[in-house]
Amino acid sequence: MAQETPTAEKKLVKNRSEILFLYDITDANPNGDPLDENKPRIDEETGINIVTDVRLKRTIRDYLHDYKKLDIFIIETKDDKGDLRTKEDRLGDFKTSEDLLNKCIDIRLFGATTAVEKKTMALTGPVQFKYGRSLHKVDSIYIKGTTVMPSKADKKQGTFTEKYMLPYSLIAFYGIVNENAALTQALKLTEEDIILMLEGIWNGTKNLISGSKFGQMPRLLMQVIYKNENFYIGELEKRMTLVSDINGERIRNISEVKIDITNLVKSLNDYKGKIEKIKLKVDERISFIKDNKDCSIKDALNGLSIEDLIL
């Protein structure tokens, strides 16, 4: 059941904003490549770990569906017997395309390139994320295990399992919220939807408790909201670098790295007049440096209008 919210909060998104999200993963697989033995995606040329945009969107959708009990369109729904529901059953949940849009937060956020029969639509999502990339080279390890239960009745023993995982990866995601894409396509994307999405990014990442994702921790979430029409800085994720005494592949913990935000802070200050405010949530275990000195990100952004994200 959807949560009741005061109508005053149902404000349509009117401003451009950029999203920057840092999270890390320990001894797990942030995003397997289904065509490569489900190995973590690694850019062979640079050793950088890659996570697709759809993995992050899945995290957000699952969180909003499972924890916030919101309607999500791109989700597998099951009937009482635990079987996946058919298209007709799922169709019956929504009467018209408008109904679909009003109910499903994920269509308002991420669009839908195709939809159900007779309700076909091609909507570009106002929110778009790039592929996430680790800020350092990663190591990949191969783990062999055994299962205790045999797969068939007449077998005497279990079998071997195998999986690939990353001992550590600190990943940066970057995204844009485009108010025009929402307005011109009549997607009623609200400020509340964005807050819910940010909550999904932060809490969903932390709450993904599965064999391959347990060990994910959100570290930094920032939404830079602009006041000037159509202006945005761009590529915020490229304005941070990871600093560590340890070789990238050997990093195993957030305490072993510092994030240099000198360029990020400089860009934000350069365009201070065009920024309405910055919403920010920071995990206490991440350290930042600016101009070669330790700093807190809040102090570094002193002078800009900062608002704590309470998720």
């Binding site: 298209k87 990339r133 970057y174």
Partner: protein, 240 residues
């Protein structure tokens, strides 16, 4: 005429070749119709109108490869949407999901040259690019392949007709613009040819395909062409 030049780049790009469906390959650089979409995003033209507004009759487009073209393949998990709707369960005919190895251009970076007949549209485009404003989100082929852009300059250009001499060109050349035997092959350069849509109307119907010759490392090509444009910064470009 005035030509606006701006740089556009990203982490990855995918400009799907029209003859590849289930194993999508990418062009090395965006075809004119894709560039029209990028210009439309910056200017504020929607999906239904950008191919009209930035059609070849009204708008000249050229592109220069900046970063050497590198292509990689990644596995992408797709959902079944046969019949234009999503089917989240499998049956005897198909699986709910399918994994497709997709080709991407890695670290793409290009210089786009553009002139528009309508001074109003041209000025808005120049202003938006100068001020780093974009009406819609700019991407390189797929919505998640977000791109960034930067203004490079506005140059006067002069249309130059062939004088039968080899001209050093910094953009890919359409084969029909070449005078026969017009390519001056140089040592140490690579010459690639890709067939791409050159003219596409608003209904996404291609009016003309043509072979385009380019140097994948971003070097210049020496060629005898029917027409080219000489920019005041010294570069010679050929519009699509």
């Amino acid at each position: 005429m005035k030509v606006l030049a701006f740089n556009i780049w990203g982490d990855y790009a995918h400009f799907r070749k029209f003859y590849t469906t289930s194993s999508p390959l990418t062009f090395s650089f965006p075809p004119p119709s894709t560039i029209a979409g990028i210009l439309g995003a910056i200017y504020g033209a929607g999906k239904e109108e950008y191919l009209d507004i930035f059609s070849s009759q009204r708008c000249h487009i050229a592109i220069k490869i900046i970063n050497p073209v590198k292509k990689i393949r990644m596995g992408i998990n797709l959902i079944n949407t046969k019949g234009n709707f999503w089917i989240p369960y499998g049956n005897q005919y198909h699986e709910p999901r399918t994994q497709i190895r997709t080709e991407f251009v890695k670290e793409p970076s290009y210089m786009v040259y553009v002139n528009h007949q309508d001074p109003k549209i041209f000025d808005t485009l120049c202003k938006n690019i100068k001020e780093h404003k974009s009406f819609y989100t700019v991407s390189l082929g797929l919505s998640e392949l977000l791109a960034d852009f930067e203004y490079a300059g506005i140059y006067n250009s002069e249309e130059t007709l062939s004088n039968d001499e080899l001209t050093e060109l910094c953009t890919p050349v359409i084969i029909t613009n070449l005078i026969s035997d017009g390519l001056g092959i140089e040592e140490g350069k690579k010459y690639f040819k890709e067939k791409m849509p050159i003219i596409m109307n608003q209904k996404r119907i291609v009016g003309k395909y043509d072979d385009v010759i380019f140097e994948p490392e971003g070097n210049t090509i020496k060629a005898r062409v029917k027409t080219y444009h000489k920019l005041e910064n010294g570069e010679n470009i050929v519009f699509f």
